[in-house]
Subunit: 282 residues, 2 copies
Amino acid sequence: MKPDMATTRGSRGDATRSMELLWGIGPTPTRGPKQGLSVERIVDAAVALADDEGIDAVTMRRIADALGVGAMSLYTYVPGKAELIDLMLDRAYGEVLAAITSEGDWRAALESRARADWAVYERHPWVVRAAGPRPILGPNELAVNEATLRAVDGIGLSGPEMAAVVTLVAGYVSGVARGIAEATAEGETHAPEGTWWTERSAVLDRVFDAERFPVSSRLAAEGVFDGDESAADYLANEIRVTFEFGLERVLDGVAALVAARAAGDGPPAPAPPPDGAPRRQP
Amino acid sequence: MKPDMATTRGSRGDATRSMELLWGIGPTPTRGPKQGLSVERIVDAAVALADDEGIDAVTMRRIADALGVGAMSLYTYVPGKAELIDLMLDRAYGEVLAAITSEGDWRAALESRARADWAVYERHPWVVRAAGPRPILGPNELAVNEATLRAVDGIGLSGPEMAAVVTLVAGYVSGVARGIAEATAEGETHAPEGTWWTERSAVLDRVFDAERFPVSSRLAAEGVFDGDESAADYLANEIRVTFEFGLERVLDGVAALVAARAAGDGPPAPAPPPDGAPRRQP
DNA sequence: CACCGTACCGTACGCTGTACCGAGTTGCAA
DNA sequence: TTGCAACTCGGTACAGCGTACGGTACGGTG
């Protein structure tokens, strides 16, 4: 799983190579046999596999099989699996980038970003689980970020506030998107939606005490938690409604801030950076 | 990795066993040798391991080593690794449950829930990555849910709205918490924070175009994205500020809804469930 | 032409989760 | 008391993972 991490991941060549791959500026060698594949095609295959069978099905061997090559051949194009996943994620950001629009006011633009994220999570449920804590720093990710920042530029917010609003919206969507995999189901979890619940409800019924969980059981009686087991799209609709509802609240909250700043309430004094900290790009 | 999933995961005994484990109602056998371990101690060891070295270090063999037993002995207590992780997660919910308070109005209670979640994500960064899309249905998870629902009960929201507000707050926190691992760092990603950036910034500088990313580069020049590489707690503070900022917005958004409902704007007509759908508990 | 950097990939290693089975231990029934 | 069934423990084994290593075939450059 992580063999000799010290040399593999630690050798500072890999990070550079990874960035070059993302930005498509790798040095293309002239000598030797023609390359039969391309990074593009490898990412294609990996994404298709992840869409069809979930992220767990994405193994180097299966990708190679799909491309009709040996597993080790992939390593001539990509330093390792982690870098390949980064490429997959930046490709997903590419779909976001293609979908967002900057028309309308800041609210419309933020909505557009949120819905574009959501659409990608729906099309590619694996993205939620594949995404690590760190940014990819790929061209598409940065472009999406730029576009979102532009949406909230010039409406009276401070720089840190702008960045925080972007994190707020993107964080909200990714948080709620966790539930998407349940709705689309089956791709990731191999048991169909129905059995999962019925298996558990037997024990749950024995243990769920209406006195211990009064509000929960009242809402359950109202049917709030009901879902049609066999019709996955009903569930998908339900979670979509929840998403839209929450998005409205989030944007209302931002609107309140924008209104306050417009009314002349100055932004809080920005905390000075501690001292000569190395510069970071976004 | 997933050997014979059909028999192992599909045999309907496992889901039942898993629920019994969570709720502590397993049938305790009388015959045979005394048990040298307990589910409790196994979860203890697993959580300790995850806290120290990240979720990837949590393997059956390492847990067993820490407990001084053979790897296979764990399987007398727990059906498999997936169920063990569920137990770890419900334990984390237990810490949330212990931290939340129901004092004050709905807003204070929701804040309390959000901060309790956040504190757990800080103490146990592995939770973000270990949590799957489905609910655990353990006692602590349900109790936390109940407490949060109670916070928004009786303030004029419909049942679905109450549920959506809970999802909104919890989803927001988990979404932003994704960035925590970067702040606490090093537990999960073995490279220290500094090198990760410096390695990449070399390529990024070559590729980052101020004309293509005008707003990003302006904010970068302002130092918005700067961080002290060596002092991890500065970064942690920065993300904490972002978290608090977003939480404020989210709650402002909920407040707007509560005010609207109080002003007499009726909730939207609840969509009727399609037809005789099996009942779900929360 | 020879050379050598490169693409491809068979083999192998260390790791994973866990099935299988034997050996030893205990409580209850006969 | 004896014997058996139920149980715990754990060694061994297996399929699958990421990927290091080294061999072979190829093709542009000296």
